[in-house]
Symmetry: C2
Subunit: 149 residues, 2 copies
DNA sequence: ACAAGTATGCACCTTTTGGTAAGTACCTGA
DNA sequence: TCAGGTACTTACCAAAAGGTGCATACTTGT
């Protein structure tokens, strides 16, 4: 029992009304292998293009492969397919193959995918609101990499 | 028949009832280098331990290095330090060095960090609610990796 | 004196991730 | 017939991310 110096209840010195209520973040670690809900979510959306894919599908509804490819700029076939397959395997995306002779396939969100996309919204908002900060910080970091290399 | 490559606004044939309202996800791509707000956010929280770190700091308030290390289980010194440094550089975390002689340092969230942790809450919730699904799916994926080599 | 704890730094190595470029099978239009 | 478009697949590589373990400088407890 190490006596912690500063510990409980966090002295609300400068606490703005916007401190995250601990109860909100505290997820019950129900299943083995997951630290918390956040952890579980991150496993699903981790992958360079996944959030963007969810984003486009949430906006555009069912989307053909080629169309998606043109939307998510700079993605290669390999990556797009791979991430789509994983999202599909994870039950976030539904693939529809029309079995037509010049291949025709489209992708859409499952209900689960829709709910996930919904959970992404605040991140989206946060990013939009703080983009200036983030950009500034990353510019510095890159300048640093450039010369300190 | 018709080779419809022209796809203006997606024929509302199968319009899913519960699509995320596009307006909610549609972020204005203000700054160069970012596709959207979501993109910006992900750059900040990407890193195996960052969300967890934010999570613990949001819950526990200022936390000493060693304490954090024991909380975020399985993290190595190198990784924890590295991610903390990045979060600090990104302005999400504040490092306080007490300059004491057996080193004493603690970490806490900046206001920006607090708001970011807040944006993480829905992901946390989503993960908690759908953890069973996620676990099931990942179990399958791993079984697959195991035998399909 | 010596182990242990404190908060890091650094070198080295493996794993994971992502990228490039090519190929497939089929069709359409010039 | 040949380029171009569809939706992928595969092999090979480079870069990034992450892990292990040792080193530091200083103190306290035994």
């Amino acid at each position: 029992m190490s006596s912690d110096r500063t510990d409980p209840t966090v002295p609300a010195s400068t606490t703005p009304p916007s401190t995250v209520p601990p109860s909100t973040l505290a997820c019950t670690p129900t299943l083995p292998g997951f630290t918390c809900g956040l952890d579980a979510t991150l496993r699903v959306i981790s992958g360079k293009w996944k959030p963007l894919i969810l984003y486009f599908l949430a906006q555009g509804g069912p989307t053909r492969y080629g169309e998606l490819r043109r939307s998510v700029r700079d993605v290669s076939d390999k990556m797009l397919i791979q991430q789509l397959k994983e999202l599909e395997a994870d039950g976030m995306v539904k693939r529809t193959d029309y079995k037509e002779v010049p291949p025709r396939v489209d992708y859409s969100l499952t209900p689960l995918g829709v709910s996930l996309a919904g959970a992404l919204v605040p991140l989206c908002t946060w990013g939009t609101e703080n983009m200036a900060e983030v950009a500034r910080v990353f510019a510095q970091r890159e300048a640093w990499n450039g010369r300190a290399r």
